[in-house]
């Protein structure tokens, strides 16, 4: 009756003050959303209010459910059922679900839970049910400081998302670093900014004294590599995201650009430009040791490691047009993988290793697409006058990029099936997103 409690190591989440314990039911999920083929009908989910005693608990409980609803709606795979249509009123775990009532309003999944406040911390326990099978699928207990209630809500949404889709990682607790831009011409100001994926907890990391571009965030989110123009010298800099402490990365005579962290956080790839050509270099950010991986006879840029760090994808104009290549991590055996019409740029390897996302330009139109690392299965996901610079969501199911909308630039993301494009709200023009791994 009482399910076995299992603690899961949730590294980054625990660091941010949210502790989670899975309550695993012996019953395997029968409600499983197949998303490989593209899900056109979102699954209706009923998220019932968290039961709590006291006004503060009730208010926080409502706020948390609202965030979970927004998260599940964002990915496009779920449709929260409006509370007004609920037939059964739930009161925490004291009420057993009457599945017939939930079937009547077409809810396919159901959550039920409680919230408790103890001093400055909150605890949420909730259960997930498969309505049609009439079964308890899963349960989870989450504890966090009150100030991290949004994070707790995102973890709850991740749990529902993962359990129902079979994905191993949700993206709702992620953050996005990007370049914020205001003004034009001499009044243009660019600043590095960071926000939760849903636009909350937004703040600026630089104050706009220098032109900044192309942030790349380290795996734990502690350091940011980016391009800054200081005294007419564009160079890659490294900044600690907590203290803002900044240093130039390496000693190069010319422009360095396109930084990309390795998945283990020990190396940074970048391209080093001299006389209108650029070579790909691997840097050790601690020792500043550098190693050229391509010879610098062409425009080789936009490098990105494979998740296991054995290979690197990059773009090069060595064939005469920009195309995507893959080489071994030591720079040997470069092979071109794009052969269709148009030019291909800014390849980024999915954290699941299965796809490489890119920007494509064909007949004056920009596209965001994905291709298999062996060059097969190219699919275009988004298009426009300007869509550029894909970055993967944690879990590798979603791609974010920036889109020019009139004179403004906005951040958008899309499911890899090409459905559910969503705009991410930012306070000003937004370019060059970097989704936290």
């Amino acid at each position: 009756m009482i399910p076995e409690k299992v603690r899961r190591g949730l590294g980054a989440a625990a660091l941010c003050g949210v502790l989670a314990g899975w309550v695993v039911s012996p019953v395997r999920a029968e409600l499983r959303i197949e998303i490989n083929q593209g899900q056109l009908n979102p699954v209706p989910v009923a998220l019932t209010p968290l039961a709590g005693s006291g006004a503060e608990a009730e208010r926080l409980g409502r706020d948390i459910i609202r965030v979970v609803e927004a998260d599940l709606q964002h990915c496009g795979l779920f449709r929260p059922v409006p509370e007004a249509s609920f037939i059964q009123k739930m009161n925490g775990f004291a009420t057993a679900p009457r599945f017939s009532d939930w079937r009547m309003i077409d809810a396919q999944a159901l959550t039920q839970g409680i919230i408790q406040i103890k001093g400055s911390s909150i605890r949420v326990d909730f259960r997930l049910f498969d309505v049609f099978a009439g079964r308890h699928i899963d349960g989870l207990s989450l504890t966090a400081d009150k100030t991290h209630w949004r994070k707790l809500a995102h973890m709850m949404a991740n749990a529902v998302y993962c359990r129902l889709t079979g994905e191993s990682r949700g993206y709702f607790d992620s953050r996005v670093f990007y370049v914020s831009r205001t003004g034009f011409g001499k009044k243009q100001v660019t600043r590095l900014a960071v926000m939760d994926y849903d636009g909350e907890n937004h703040h600026f990391l630089t104050q706009g004294q220098h032109l900044v571009l192309m942030p790349s965030v380290s795996p734990e989110g502690r350091e940011l590599a980016f391009l800054a123009f200081v005294k007419h010298k564009p160079r890659v800099y490294l900044m600690r995201t907590d203290t803002g402490q900044t240093r130039v990365l390496g000693d190069f005579k010319g422009m360095t650009l396109a930084p990309a962290w390795s998945p283990d956080g020990r190396k940074i790839l970048l391209s080093y430009a001299r006389h209108g050509r650029s070579a790909i270099y691997e840097m050790d950010p601690a020792s500043l040791e550098k190693r050229p991986l391509t010879d610098g006879r062409f425009i080789d840029t936009s490098p990105c490691y494979s998740p296991d760090q054995s290979r690197i994808c990059f773009e090069s104009d060595r064939s005469g047009t920009q195309q995507i290549y893959i080489m071994r991590a030591d720079g040997t055996d470069p092979r071109r993988i794009t052969f269709s019409k148009g030019s291909y740029a800014t390849p980024v390897w999915s954290p699941r290793e299965d796809w490489i996302a890119f920007t494509k330009i064909l007949n004056g139109t920009f596209y965001i697409g994905v291709i298999r690392p062996d060059g097969k299965g190219e699919r275009l996901l988004a298009q426009g006058y300007l869509v550029e610079g894909p970055t993967w969501a944690p879990g590798g199911r979603r791609v974010m990029y920036f889109r020019q909308d009139g004179k403004n630039h906005v951040l958008c993301s899309i499911d890899i099936t090409g459905h559910y494009e969503k705009r991410h709200i930012t306070p000003a023009d937004a370019l060059h997103p970097a989704w936290t791994p």
Partner: protein, 159 residues
């Protein structure tokens, strides 16, 4: 080498012809107020021309661009204390990373041309802004043409 000198003197003559009518030989203030004072940033921008334009995805200097650079070189010869930053720019129809390198190609093409005309390389710095500092935000071909440019920004050293 010989050709370079010929080009140089021709450029200087063109420049003198262009400026002769609007400037006082003794350097006193121009009464009509329409012409910039010689040796100023405005003088360079107006009388030499501060920018050259490129074709799509190209860094080759067109005949028009070369004429402008001839004027720039002659002006820089006349004012040897002036230093210049050549900014390479691109239109919005390429990706940011590629355009940064293309912009550098354009700035380098200008620097190479100016140094071939005898301007000391250490007076010229280059920088590429790619497409991050557009001149025109429009989406027309006219806007793209304006954006594909290299701009020579001169700094007059304080005496």
């Amino acid at each position: 080498m010989n050709n370079t000198y010929k080009l140089m003197s021709a450029a200087a003559m063109v420049l003198l012809a262009a400026c002769g009518t609007s400037k006082q030989q003794d350097g006193s203030a121009v009464t009509d107020g329409s012409a910039p004072a010689p040796g100023t940033v405005e003088d360079f921008n107006v009388n030499a021309g501060d920018r050259v334009f490129f074709e799509f995805d190209k860094h080759v200097l067109t005949a028009d661009a070369q004429r402008t650079l001839d004027h720039q070189a002659a002006w820089l010869m006349t004012y040897p204390a002036v230093t210049v930053v050549v900014e390479g720019h691109c239109d919005a129809r390429g990706t940011e990373k590629y355009n940064l390198v293309l912009g550098e190609k354009r700035a380098d093409a200008v620097k190479d041309y100016l140094t071939a005309l005898g301007i000391a390389a250490d007076r010229i710095q280059t920088v590429s802004y790619g497409k991050s500092r557009l001149e025109d935000q429009g989406t027309t071909e006219e806007a793209h043409t304006k954006n594909r440019r290299a701009v020579s920004v001169v700094t007059i050293q304080a005496q």
